[in-house]
């Protein structure tokens, strides 16, 4: 590769990094603790650099990177399983990082209910509600039809509705919701 090609590659990667690394990191932080999120985010961009020719142009770039992040995170969890119970860590989001929200009690219940969904449903809900992706992009990332995404999301929300009703009922006697913060 000549110097011009090298420079073009660097410029393109810098643009991918600058435009998207916070979103990829946010994706990871929504699914893993900070240390894992850092590692996974970094690995996503190593993959992006190695396969820069495969990285699509915007607006396809971010869904592509989310797809890579999902696979890297999945691999990371599998490889870590023998050493530690990563499941336990994956349920914790440290609120110390700027940009990571301090959730109130109700929102913690909601987040826990989301994480309690079955694997594919959980990922679809997160991609829809937290990454705010259109269903077509979710279908592409998940490798399923748009119809399946529609259906699974609808089903997952129905389950969440029931789980939240139970979760908030259980919580209600001990931790009263602040005025205006209750989940209807």
């Amino acid at each position: 590769m000549g110097k011009d090609g090298h420079d073009e590659r660097r410029i393109r990667f810098d643009r991918v990094w600058t435009d998207h690394h916070r979103h990829v990191l946010a994706y990871c932080l929504r699914r893993a603790d900070r240390a894992v999120a850092d590692d996974v985010c970094a690995e996503v961009f190593v993959v992006a650099w190695r396969r820069l020719d495969d990285v699509p142009e915007p607006p396809r770039t971010l869904p592509y990177l989310y797809g890579v992040a999902g696979r890297v995170l999945s691999n990371h969890r599998r490889s870590s399983r023998r050493r530690i119970r990563l499941d336990q860590r994956l349920r914790v989001v440290e609120p110390t990082l700027p940009g990571v929200a301090e959730l109130n009690d109700d929102d913690r219940i909601v987040a826990a209910a989301v994480r309690g969904l079955r694997r594919l449903d959980r990922e679809i809900v997160m991609l829809h509600a937290w990454e705010d992706l259109p269903h077509g992009d979710i279908a592409e990332i998940m490798g399923m039809s748009r119809a399946a995404v529609d259906q699974r999301l609808h089903r997952a929300y129905r389950l969440l509705e029931r789980e939240l009703a139970r979760g908030l009922d259980r919580r209600a006697p001990d931790v009263p919701a602040a005025a205006g913060e209750g989940v209807a």
Partner: protein
């Protein structure tokens, strides 16, 4: 809680609501200097400058080295294969897309026919002819996993361990809807199947069919009629709880199509998506007993997640 409200509730619980606020540098230096460093590793790696082989003595060593390398490679391949066979399957709760490296072409899906009706069927992909007419093109495909499934020409059912059965997933073009609830059920029991109490819905739109279902006099409307997109098509969604009319053996009849009539036990729940598939009304049903096993319900939802309608 409406769909919109649950959506807002979930969005509000986003742990990282605004990625732009993240002020953070990941540990691996992938910032402005990363491309240069990675370039050194991945692109500007020195090329192999080994001089060409020139003598017989060197050739002998090359052959020996090659043989040794082959032994090492064979050993490593064996280890990898052994580890792969021993490795656990993908964790059920892992997050992210599922990677599949299987390059073998998938088997052709099996068309469910009347001849197969109520016979056990193995896991696999199946095609449902929604009206039983081989000349029409509207088909539904779905994939089932596990055992205890049986064929029902407009869908699949699942035998329950207690000896009962629960139709799990049906996709049918509906001709008639029970207009009189328990009265019609009793009428049929007493008069041997006279269908004069039925409402003909052949050619009716999705909303009309859905409203007739929801308007049956004895059913409990668990989820009211609501517009949505389902399986890629405009749809009307509703969920009904089936009444106790004193019926036996799934005797409460609700709808009939060209090849199938659907009856229910007391207390069964039926969830419907009435689809408008390019002008054809298709009823997709998922139904279960109040005491159906979680395992069976999960299998049901997994199968629904694979359903695709082809006009």
């Amino acid at each position: 809680m409406t769909y919109d409200l649950i959506d807002r509730t979930v969005r509000r619980a986003n742990p990282v609501p605004d990625p732009a606020r993240l002020d953070h540098k990941p540990p691996l230096a992938l910032g402005a200097h990363a491309p240069e460093g990675l370039t050194m590793q991945l692109i500007e790696r020195p090329t192999d400058q080994r001089p060409p082989d020139e003598g017989p003595r060197r050739s002998r060593w090359v052959v020996l080295a090659g043989a040794a390398a082959a032994v090492v490679v064979a050993f490593l391949v064996g280890m990898i294969v052994a580890n792969r066979d021993a490795a656990p399957s993908a964790p059920a709760d892992s997050i992210g897309p599922v990677e599949t490296l299987d390059t073998a072409p998938p088997p052709e899906p099996t068309l469910l026919t009347r001849a197969m009706e109520f016979n056990p069927i193995p896991a696999g992909e199946y095609v449902i002819d929604t009206d039983g007419d081989p000349d029409s093109t509207l088909l539904a495909t779905l994939t089932i996993e596990g055992d205890r499934w049986f064929a029902a020409q407009p869908g699949v059912g699942r035998d329950e361990p207690n000896g009962d059965y629960s139709f799990a997933l049906l996709a049918a073009e509906v001709d008639r809807v029970n207009a009189a609830g328990c009265d019609t059920t009793r009428f049929i029991d007493e008069r041997g199947g006279d269908l004069t109490q039925w409402t003909d819905v052949d050619g009716a739109g999705a909303r009309q069919v859905a409203e007739l279902l929801a308007g049956m006099p004895d059913v409990a409307v668990i989820d009211p009629v609501a517009e949505m997109t389902a399986f890629g098509y405009p749809a009307i969604h509703l969920t009904l709880g089936m009444p106790d009319c004193g019926q036996r053996d799934h005797g409460y009849i609700v709808w009939e199509g060209p090849t199938f009539g659907r009856n229910y036990d007391p207390g069964m729940t039926a969830e419907y998506w009435v689809l408008d598939v390019d002008g054809t009304t298709v009823l997709v049903e998922a139904s279960w007993h109040a005491d159906s096993l979680v395992e069976d319900r999960n299998a049901l939802w997994d199968a629904i997640g694979t359903l695709e309608i082809t006009p």
